[in-house]
Symmetry: C2
Subunit: 270 residues, 2 copies
Amino acid sequence: MTRADIPAHIRSFVFDIDGCLAVDGEPIAGAFETLAELRDRGYGFVFLTNDSYLSTSAWQKKAVALGFDFPDLAVITAGQILVQLAADRYPGGKVLLFGSDALGREAENLGLKLLTTERGHEADVVLVARTPSFNYDDMTAGLRALRAGAGFITASMARTIPSNDGPVPGTGATTNALAFASRRRAVIAGKPSALAARTCLQIAGFDLKHTAFVGDDPELDIATAKRVQAFSILVLTGSTAAEDVQTLKPQLTPDLVMNSITDIPGLLWA
Amino acid sequence: MTRADIPAHIRSFVFDIDGCLAVDGEPIAGAFETLAELRDRGYGFVFLTNDSYLSTSAWQKKAVALGFDFPDLAVITAGQILVQLAADRYPGGKVLLFGSDALGREAENLGLKLLTTERGHEADVVLVARTPSFNYDDMTAGLRALRAGAGFITASMARTIPSNDGPVPGTGATTNALAFASRRRAVIAGKPSALAARTCLQIAGFDLKHTAFVGDDPELDIATAKRVQAFSILVLTGSTAAEDVQTLKPQLTPDLVMNSITDIPGLLWA
């Protein structure tokens, strides 16, 4: 790799968290120093996670606890993108949200009106996020809203998510139950959708042309970048090993592969 | 139509209930007399419903309340087929059942051992039936059992089922959530599977070659018969109108179409 590998027009970074900035709850060695150097040299960055359960402020605290102690650090979540999309498309609208109380408050802060399950059929849009309380009555309410023509947006189509006790059903499983019953297809707010990239950049105030997406998962992080033709960097600190890179499909092949985010400063032009 | 339309080798009938024997909770005019005549002339019959919630004895009471007051009438349900299949394939096995208490008792009567959600990961087979109590913890338990290699059988892949308040999610929606999360595919016990036909005949003690399947729904009743090459009769008292018949695909085209089951006695040979 040469200094030319990260184009000179890149001025900001969107970092995946798990497997990229941190592994198993511990920060990557040198990650804080890398980000501090980027900041000192005038580069912008935000963190982007596909989680849709915790509030963005809870994620900011988590980032600080991981050692990323930057004032005004923006952590953007799939949940935040979900409610932002809903607010953009259905301003002031009535939403049937399957998600955490924290996400419900974020929705209300954007002017959306939360419906109870009982009044779910009145919804302008059905929003699906991580919701361990999801049950059959919720599914029924969602079905009725979708049959009545409500919009349908999900934070993620993840089949499972890891937990300390092993995998648990992901937001995709919940979404799929509703999609199957209603014969409707949900718009995906989180990675790997183009919407995730665009809304993230909108929230961060970054320009697509000048931004690189950095992550460890080709199917999530790289796919997201490729869908909007943004510059993409795959790091090998997470789910992808060096030998996996050769077998990636074109739409998942990053512009650049590096061992770790700590390689970034040495490859920058400015 | 001539008397030759129902072949002479047909000696027994499997009747769908809703749309065939009864519509909107009322028996078809003349239905009881038709069945009584069949019985008097030595023909056998059973009722086959895709419901998996009520016990077979509750269904027998329902049939009597509908006016089908035959002693020893057999009503076979998708739930019964589900637990019968599980008992055949996993004799004495441990089952994680998502279904009603009534169905659980039927499973236990067949020697199966019911697991609690907490011990679901030990299951030999995951069974999915209609279960309005289904929740995220159930989904998690099912996912773990399926990832550990348990069998996977569902009563039905129905997207929705009708209720007095409009459609509610069908067993297919619940099943699909588990299938999506686990990347597993469920065996279907109820209509329109060949298993539904074969297990129904096994329970009824009927011979495939001598049995006609009668129902109003090409995608359920006729498809079931066609999959085992049984004689099939479509009645027009339910979901299918006469003008729909011409547009049916070959695998859904019945051997015989009639206005109502009351046409059957006039078309019999013996």
